[in-house]
C-alpha cells in the first residue's frame, strides 16, 4: 500500500498525520472505500476519499501530489485497523464514490478533466511560494558565510531544522531534505568544514538555478526542479517517457533509514544499452521494502526514466522475465571518474554515482580499491575496512559494484570466484 507514496517526504508527512487526533471523522465500507476529515491549517477540515479498488484518491487539500499525504495517512490508519466501519459514507464521499463506480461500469467514458483553471491557479501559487523559499534560503546561506562556519559545531540540530521547516512551508521539500541532512556534517570528522562549505555552495547554486530555471535547457530544468522538490507523478513518468527495454542487471542495492523512512536504492545496468538506472522504493521503518529486484539477477524489462539532465532514476514499467545476471564488466578507476565528471558537467549536484570496478582491495594508506594500473580510490569512511570484501578478494582482483561519492566509494556488491554476486 505504501508503495503508492509518490516520494519519501509524502510518506513521512502521512505518518505524522496518521493519528486519531488529526482525524475527527473516519469511515470505511467493505474494504472498498475509505473516507475521513482531517484537521489541517485551514478552518474547514480537508475531506479525503479513497477508492481502494483503484486505488483512486480525492482530497480537498491543495496538494498536487498524488496521492496526497492525507490519502496516505488515511490508508495508514485503515491498515492499523483504526478506521471504523459503522455508518455509510457522508454525502461528499458518497457522491464521488458513486461517480467512480458509474465510470467504472462505463469504461468508454473519457476521464473527466479536473477543473483546469483551479489546477493552474494552484500551480502558480506553488511556484510563487517556492520562489520566495529560494530567496529565503539564499539570504540564510549568506548569513552563515558572513558570520562564519566556525560556530557550526556548537549549533544543535535546531539550527538546520528551522530553516528546513521553512522550506517545507515554502513547498520546497528537496531543499528541506538537503538542509536537514546538514546537521550531521559538523560531527562527521576531520574536514567537516570543507564539506559544510561544499554543501552550502551547492545549495546556493541550486537556489540560483531555481530562480533562473526559465532560462535553463529543459533537461537541466527538470533536474533543478526535482532537486528543489517538485515531484513528478509516477503515472506521468510512465505516460511520457519512452520505455527503454533491455536486460537490466541488478548490480547493487543499498538501504537507508532516515527519519522513520526506509529508502532502498537499486542500481541496474542495461546489457545492451549500457545505461545505468536507479530504482527507488520506500517503506516505513519496521515494514519490509520492495524485494522484487534481487542483486545478481537480470530482468528483461521496460524502464521509464524520469526526465533529468543525467537520467538515472527510473521505474520498472513492464517486467517480462528474470534470469541470472553473471559478472558485470568492471571499469578502471580512470574510466569511472571520467564518467562521473561527465555526469557532473550535466548535473553539478550529483553526489552518488554508480561504480563498477575491476580492482583489488588494499588497506594502505587507507582502505581503498586499486585497479590494474595501480590507480586507487578510497572507500567511504562509513564502510570501514569492509572485511568481507577483503576476504572475497584474498589480495586478487575482483569485480566490485558500489556508489562513488565525494567522500569515497561505498562498496555494495562483489563477485566471487564462482561468479556469484555477494552483497557486502
Amino acid at each position: 500500500m505504501l508503495a503508492q507514496a509518490p516520494d519519501a517526504s509524502s510518506l513521512r508527512a502521512a505518518q505524522l498525520l496518521a493519528s486519531g487526533r488529526s482525524w475527527p471523522l473516519t469511515g470505511a465500507e467493505d474494504d472498498s472505500a475509505l473516507w475521513g476529515e482531517c484537521l489541517g491549517s485551514t478552518v474547514t477540515p480537508y475531506r479525503t476519499v479513497v477508492d481502494l479498488s483503484g486505488p483512486a484518491y480525492r482530497c480537498s487539500c491543495p496538494s498536487r501530489k498524488f496521492p496526497c499525504k492525507h490519502a496516505l495517512a488515511l490508508m495508514l490508519l485503515w491498515s492499523d485497523g483504526t478506521v471504523g466501519t459503522n455508518g455509510g459514507p457522508p454525502d461528499w464521499a458518497a457522491s464521488w464514490l458513486a461517480a467512480r463506480s458509474a465510470k467504472a461500469s462505463d469504461p468508454k467514458e473519457p476521464k473527466a478533466p479536473a477543473d483546469p483553471a483551479a489546477a493552474l491557479r494552484r500551480a502558480e501559487q506553488r511556484e510563487a511560494r517556492v520562489a520566495s523559499g529560494l530567496t529565503e534560503v539564499d539570504r540564510w546561506l549568506c548569513d552563515q558565510v558572513r558570520q562564519g562556519l566556525a560556530a557550526s559545531q556548537r549549533y544543535g540540530y535546531r539550527h538546520w531544522d528551522d530553516i528546513a521547516a521553512r522550506m517545507i512551508d515554502a513547498q520546497a521539500p528537496g531543499l528541506a531534505e538537503r538542509l536537514r541532512a546538514l546537521a550531521a556534517v559538523p560531527y562527521s570528522g576531520p574536514g567537516w568544514d570543507g564539506r559544510l562549505l561544499e554543501e552550502y555552495a551547492l545549495l546556493w547554486l541550486l537556489a540560483a538555478a531555481g530562480r533562473e530555471q526559465a532560462g535553463l535547457p529543459p533537461p537541466l530544468r527538470d533536474t533543478v526542479r526535482s532537486r528543489v522538490g517538485f515531484t513528478i507523478r509516477q503515472a506521468d513518468v510512465l505516460a511520457s517517457a519512452t520505455p527503454v527495454r533491455d536486460h537490466w542487471h541488478v548490480l547493487a542495492r543499498r538501504d537507508l533509514d532516515q527519519d522513520r523512512i526506509r529508502t532502498r536504492r537499486a542500481w541496474l545496468r542495461g546489457r545492451h544499452t549500457g545505461r545505468t538506472a536507479l530504482v527507488l522504493s520506500f517503506a516505513a521503518v519496521g515494514q519490509s521494502l520492495d524485494d522484487s529486484l534481487t542483486v545478481g539477477t537480470q530482468i528483461d524489462a521496460d524502464l521509464a526514466f524520469y526526465p533529468a539532465a543525467v537520467p538515472l532514476r527510473a521505474l520498472v514499467a513492464t517486467r517480462y522475465d528474470t534470469g541470472p545476471g553473471g559478472v558485470p564488466l568492471g571499469a578502471t578507476v580512470a574510466e569511472m571518474l571520467a564518467g562521473y565528471a561527465a555526469g557532473l558537467a550535466q548535473d553539478p549536484w550529483l553526489d552518488t554515482w554508480p561504480a563498477v570496478l575491476e580492482a583489488t582491495p588494499a588497506r594502505a594508506p587507507v582502505a581503498c580499491l586499486s585497479d590494474a594500473v595501480g590507480e586507487a580510490l578510497p572507500l567511504h569512511p562509513g564502510a570501514g575496512d569492509c572485511w568481507p570484501l577483503l576476504a572475497l578478494s584474498g589480495g586478487h582482483p575482483l569485480t566490485v559494484a558500489g556508489e562513488w561519492t565525494p567522500r569515497g566509494l561505498w562498496p555494495l556488491t562483489a563477485w566471487d570466484e564462482g561468479g556469484m554476486a555477494v552483497p557486502l
Partner: protein, 462 residues
C-alpha cells in the same frame, strides 16, 4: 586585485607547457583551502580569496556582497574539484595462496550465516568439523564474522581456532595476518617443542593436544613426565586435553589423581575414569548402581525397583561424588543426588548386559516417581560415554514414547546435540514433537535434531 588572482593569470598565459597543469592543480587545492578558511572566519572579518580553476578564465573582482561572492566561488570550485578528482596510489596486499577445495553449497553457506549470527551457537563446531571432513571450503565473505566469533570465545571451545584454521584454509590465515584482533582466532597449534617449555598455557595446551593427536604415546609421556612438577592448574589442563584422547593406558595416572590434593584435579580424574571403558571406577559404580536399581517382575510387566542405601559409603567421595548436592549446581534432593551421580558414572553396558535388554527396552521400564532421575542420570552417562544407541533410545523415549518423564531441558538439549542426525530427518521426529502444544523441551530437542540433520545434508549435497 589580489596576489592570488594575479598568479592565476600568469598560469593561464603559460598554458601549453608541461609544468602548467601541475601548478594549476596545486592552485585549485590552495584556493579551496583559502575559501574554507575564509568561510570559517566569516566574510564580516575576512577577505574573500580569489580562486583559479584550470581551463577557466580567472574570476573577475566582484563588487557584490562578499558572502555571495564566496558562495559563488565555492560552488564553482566544488564542482571543479569533484570532476577533477585524481586517483590515489595504494600499497598492494600480499596475495593469498589458492585453496583447491570446492566451496560449500549456497544452502550450506546460508546455514553457516545463521550459525554465525547466533542461531544454535553450540552447533558451530559440528558444522565446521563436518565441512573439514568433507574437504569443503568456506565462503570467504563469512570468514571475518567467523574470526570475530572465535576471537570472542563463543562458543567457548579451546579447539575452535584449530578447527577454523583447517576449515578456513589459507584465506582465514591470510585475513588473520591482516588484523591483529584475529591473531589467535585461526591458528594451528605449534609443533615446536620450544612451545612446551616456553609457551603460555594456551600455547602449551595446543601443543599437547596436537601431540596427543599425532603421537598419543609421546603425548602421554609428556603428561606423566611433567605431572609431579606441575601445579594444580596445569594438571587440570593436562586432564582436560586428555579428555579427547582417552585410552586404557591413562587409568593408573587417573586412579592416582583421585587422591590428588586439589579438588578440581580429583573431579576431572573421576569424570574421565567414568568415561573410560572397563575402568575400575566404572566397575565400582556398576556395583553401586545394581545395589540401588533392580528389575522387579509385576503383574502388568517388569518395572524398576529403586532403593537407595542410607549406609555411608566412604569410597563414594573418592570416586568424585560429594555426600550432598551443591545447592546451585544440582537442585535435587540428597537421596536423588547420590543415585543421579552414580547413574551418570555407571557404564551403560551394566544395564543392557545385567538385564538382558536393549537400551530402548531399559529406558521404557516404568520406574514411577524415580523416572526423572533415571532419565537424567542415563542421559549424562550416554553423553559422557558417547553412546549413540543410548542417546537414540533416550531421545526416542522423550520424543516418541508415551508421555514420559518430564526430562530436564538441558539433558534433552545435550542429547539432541549428540544424537545420530538421522533422527532429525523429516518423519523421524513425530508430529507431536513439532506440535506447538508439545512441552518446550521436547520442541526444542526436535528443533535441534532437525537443524543438525538439515545442515549435514546440505554439506553432503554440496
Amino acid at each position: 586585485m589580489s596576489p592570488g588572482l594575479r598568479s592565476d593569470e600568469g598560469a593561464t598565459k603559460e598554458g601549453g607547457t608541461l609544468e602548467a597543469p601541475r601548478r594549476r592543480a596545486g592552485d585549485t587545492v590552495n584556493s579551496w583551502h583559502d575559501l574554507v578558511t575564509a568561510s570559517l572566519i566569516g566574510t564580516e572579518r575576512s577577505v574573500v580569496p580569489a580562486v583559479g580553476i584550470p581551463g577557466l578564465p580567472p574570476a573577475e573582482d566582484d563588487p557584490g556582497d562578499p558572502a555571495a561572492v564566496l558562495l559563488d566561488r565555492a560552488a564553482l570550485l566544488t564542482a571543479a574539484r569533484r570532476a577533477g578528482r585524481r586517483p590515489d596510489r595504494a600499497e598492494p596486499l600480499p596475495a593469498c595462496a589458492p585453496d583447491p577445495r570446492p566451496t560449500v553449497s549456497p544452502a550450506a553457506a546460508r546455514r553457516l550465516r545463521r550459525l554465525i549470527s547466533g542461531e544454535h551457537p553450540d552447533l558451530l563446531t559440528e558444522w565446521l568439523a563436518a565441512a573439514v571432513a568433507r574437504g569443503l571450503r568456506l565462503p570467504p565473505q563469512l570468514l571475518p564474522a567467523l574470526l570475530d566469533r572465535v576471537r570472542r570465545g563463543r562458543p567457548a571451545d579451546p579447539g575452535l581456532p584449530r578447527l577454523l584454521a583447517q576449515a578456513g584454509g589459507p584465506r582465514a590465515r591470510w585475513l588473520a595476518d591482516l588484523n591483529p584482533d584475529w591473531e589467535h582466532a585461526a591458528e594451528e597449534p605449534s609443533t615446536d617443542d620450544k612451545t612446551w617449555r616456553l609457551g603460555d598455557t594456551r600455547q602449551r595446551r595446543g601443543y599437547l593436544a596436537s601431540l596427543l593427536n599425532r603421537d598419543p604415546d609421546a603425548g602421554r609421556a609428556l603428561i606423566t613426565g611433567g605431572w609431579d612438577a606441575a601445579g594444580a592448574a596445569d594438571r587440570v589442563m593436562f586432564l582436560s586435553v586428555l579428555a579427547d584422547a582417552l585410552g586404557p593406558a591413562d587409568e593408573p595416572l587417573l586412579e592416582a589423581a583421585l587422591d590428588d590434593g586439589a579438588e578440581d584435579v580429583r573431579r576431572w580424574a573421576a569424570y574421565l575414569l567414568a568415561r573410560l571403558p572397563g575402568s575400575a571406577l566404572g566397575q565400582r559404580m556398576a556395583a553401586r548402581a545394581l545395589r540401588y536399581v533392580r528389575v522387579e517382575q509385576t503383574v502388568p510387566g517388569p518395572r524398576l525397583s529403586i532403593g537407595t542405601s542410607r549406609q555411608p559409603d566412604p569410597e563414594l567421595q573418592r570416586d568424585g561424588i560429594a555426600a550432598h548436592p551443591e545447592p546451585i549446581r544440582a537442585p535435587v534432593e540428597s537421596r536423588n543426588h547420590v543415585l543421579l551421580e552414580v547413574l551418570a558414572r555407571t557404564p551403560l553396558s551394566t544395564w543392557t548386559d545385567g538385564f538382558g535388554l536393549t537400551p530402548a527396552e531399559v529406558v521404557a521400564l516404568p520406574s514411577g516417581g524415580w523416572a526423572p532421575v533415571m532419565f537424567a542420570g542415563w542421559s549424562r552417562a550416554a553423553i559422557a560415554q558417547g553412546n549413540r544407541d543410548w542417546i537414540s533410545a533416550l531421545l526416542g523415549r522423550a520424543l516418541l514414547g508415551p508421555p514420559g518423564p518430564a526430562a530436564e531441558i538441558e539433558a534433552l538439549r545435550q542429547l539432541a546435540r549428540r544424537a545420530d542426525p538421522a533422527l532429525g530427518a523429516p518423519g523421524a521426529v513425530p508430529v507431536s514433537a513439532g506440535d506447538p502444544d508439545a512441552p518446550p523441551p521436547i520442541r526444542d530437542a526436535a528443533r535441534i535434531l532437525r537443524f543438525r540433520h538439515d545442515m549435514l545434508k546440505e554439506l553432503d549435497d554440496g
